[in-house]
Symmetry: C2
């Protein structure tokens, strides 16, 4: 190992290699669920240096854990506790290389913080729509390695849909120059999408070209009270029909989740009365706020006539719009205040969601009376956070110890039966690796293993993640 | 071979296996550029039968050429002339399995003709936006195997962007059940996008789940005269800003291409005077034709003020709109009437297009005075058909024999220098295989070969195509 570290140091210098000292910022995730111990931390400053690092790892058979902003939720970017894995941090490669306004694209390095990419697009009068809670510290490379989702997926898609091209260093240290500003290119296999979402197990993304969009003229939000999840699904169809792609947000919150917010964060106003389901809609309008409000009025009137909506409120200004969004964003905060709970990040066909929720709610009510289902999420994407809390008066830790595994099993079984996904946007990492091995189509698993072996024959790229 | 054919016949029956007789409909492409001779034609009627065919091919080491509607342009779906390749026609697997209106998705088998998929979506009040000239005979499986483009890419993307999930039979005859109605799913490598665009060289797509969209309320088109390609690029930016995703078409035609239409098809009215570049714009509006016309008026007025547009006409009814589109669609017809010519299906970053065209036009004018550049295409996608015709009075066949190879070389060199693609939407097949081997990034080629070997170790899937 010392020959390896000497060679690394010779190539990267003091700034590029951290050995010994306090490496905890690189060795554990922010939720402290996956503490590990690194052999060292390599901090290359260029694509050539990344290539040199991977060549040395290849020669010396050292495992590599690529790391961006280290904000992941599934243990994908921290080393195990063997002290034999090298953390490869992209944090020094953070340059926005180019913004091409006429082509509506931006090229940046993997370590570029998401908010910086957004700012570079805004400076050119354009929108980079990828947006998520960790945007102040997560990085573009990590967003792509995990195919991040966020709040604008309904309209703009995941990180995958926003990417035009990649620069990647392979497991053997070769550089694939796949940066591209092209919207159309049918010249061979889609390597780009293979690396996107592979969580650092096939190679290291060092830069990417991403799509930009025109800035909408204005955004307007509304809240709607629905008597059932079926009614919310009907409202989604109507909203898509009336607003087309101006519809950039469609979030649902069940009664229990807003009641929890009222209990834990009573200072937040709740404009509508308690409904079975409350929907937050957002329009991003190419014309004006007035136009968006007129579309909302027509839409909500039609929805009330059809019986899909019982009550509604359209934000009259930016402050109200923010208050509406804040209500939605407050749910995880209220959950954190209320103590430990069981989280699920699942996706289903939109049409299957009402049946899934009815079945699970009924099963839990019978099986674990009083347990609270805090159910909210991106209905427009078919993505629910179906979370379960201990009944009032029961200690959360005890409830979890007794029931978490069994609840997961039942939730994932019901998801699988309906053709759903056990990880809609957070990925697999270490957290869901065994669940994936049990539940994924076996032919798909075989194809994945064949690809892994073909592109990383020594098994050095982020081992123990995904597969 | 006879043991193989007997086993195939035992599994597929008379309807499922054609041996001998006139197989020319399966053995040559519609342009008759790639005539071949098949060992036989298998016509399985189910996914299980496709799996059985591929298992037998795997055991007997017989090469397979998957075939959909056989409308491709690059020789990807017809056998070579060895008489040893089995054509696997998906034409009997043409069922629309399901339309899920609430999830806005459709599941159909690979042999489903594109127009039938469009009709099934329309019957549910929704839009399946993939649309191209061959839609009456091309199939969904072929569209996905070649990642087809077409006329609505600007707004809805290629076949790839429209696909949610696949059912695939692997080279060894296993079935990957990857059909999915999910908009979000981060559970492992993106196998779907690996098979899409792989032209049958990795496995056989047997069914797919595709995204549907709301039907727009109305479509309105306009023509705009621009003094330069730079002005057309500026108009594109303004149109995206003003119309957002309502902008579903942005086609350019150079002066020579409309002059050719005037010569060859003088009966077609040309509403605007001869301009350096004529742009056809289409808006698909979620509200009404009146709203679309109002957006067009504001947009074109602003463009005239900024000097991007010299003259413009907005279609006042459906008939006029069709006449505008017909003008654009008439260019390839006029070219066919005028005789042989040299075609290029290239993509560039939109920002690089004016420079490319200026350089190539000037180079050709000096090198081959009088040669006509018929230049038109999907500017919004960065996709040009940069075609070259013999000077007036020069026999097209002689011109091509003398200059085709050298013109291709110069065009592709200029494309490559600007990070462009030599095949924007038609794929590689046999036609561009050698060009790909010469021009593709060598690391990318190595990765493609490693994947091919991993998923098709015997090299039986559509050999000699792509790689």
């Amino acid at each position: 190992m010392s020959a390896f570290l000497d060679a690394l140091h010779a190539r990267l210098g003091d700034a590029g290699l951290l050995v010994g000292g306090d490496l905890s910022a690189y060795e554990r995730d922010w939720r402290k669920r996956y503490p590990g111990q690194a052999l060292a931390v390599a901090r290359p400053a260029s694509t050539d240096e990344v290539a040199a690092v991977l060549k040395l790892c290849h020669e010396h058979r050292v495992a590599v854990v690529p790391q961006g902003g280290n904000t992941g939720l599934v243990g994908g970017s921290t080393p195990d506790d063997s002290g034999r894995q090298l953390v490869l941090s992209l944090s020094r490669m953070k340059r926005v290389r180019a913004v091409d306004a006429a082509n509506a694209s931006l090229t940046a390095e993997a370590g570029c913080v998401l908010a910086e990419a957004q700012a570079a697009a805004a400076a050119a009068g354009l929108l980079f729509p990828l947006s998520l809670a960790a945007e102040g510290s997560c990085t573009l490379g990590g967003n792509l390695a995990t195919n991040a989702g966020g709040t604008q997926v309904l309209r703009y898609g995941n990180a995958r849909e926003l990417c035009l091209g990649l620069e990647v260093v392979t497991a053997s240290g070769e550089v694939w120059q796949g940066l591209s500003g092209l919207r159309k290119d049918n010249t061979g296999y889609d390597l780009r999408d293979l690396f996107i979402g592979s969580e650092g197990t096939l190679g290291v993304i060092t830069a990417a070209t991403m799509k930009l969009y025109p800035q909408p003229k204005d955004r307007v939000t509304a809240l709607a009270a629905c008597g059932s999840l079926e009614a919310a699904v009907a409202l989604l169809g109507l909203a898509r029909e009336r607003a087309g792609d101006a519809l950039t947000g469609f979030e649902v919150m069940n009664r229990a989740s807003l009641a929890l917010v009222a209990r834990e964060l009573p200072q937040l106003p709740q404009p509508l009365g308690a409904a079975a389901w409350t929907v937050l809609l957002e329009l991003s309008d190419a014309e004006s706020a007035e136009h968006a409000r007129a579309v909302f009025e027509g839409l909500l009137e039609a929805a009330v006539e059809r019986g899909s909506v019982e009550d509604a409120a359209i934000a009259q200004n930016l402050q109200q719009a923010q208050a509406f969004w804040h209500l939605r964003e407050a749910i995880p905060l209220a959950q954190a205040q209320a103590g430990l709970n069981i989280k699920h990040d699942i996706a289903l066909p939109v049409s299957a969601i009402p049946g899934f929720v009815a079945e699970m709610d009924a099963a839990l009510a019978t099986w674990l009376p009083g347990a609270e289902v805090i159910d909210f999420g991106h209905l427009g994407d078919g993505n629910l956070h179906y979370n379960v809390q201990a009944p009032p008066g029961v200690a959360p830790a005890e409830f979890l110890a007794a029931h978490e595994a069994a609840i997961n099993e039942r939730v994932y079984d019901a998801v699988q039966r309906r053709g759903g996904s056990i990880s809609a946007e957070h990925g697999i990492g270490r957290l869901k690796r065994e669940e994936l091995a049990r539940r994924k189509d076996t032919v798909a698993l075989g194809l994945m293993q064949a690809i892994k072996k073909a592109l990383d024959p020594q098994g050095l790229m982020n081992p123990g993640r995904v597969l």
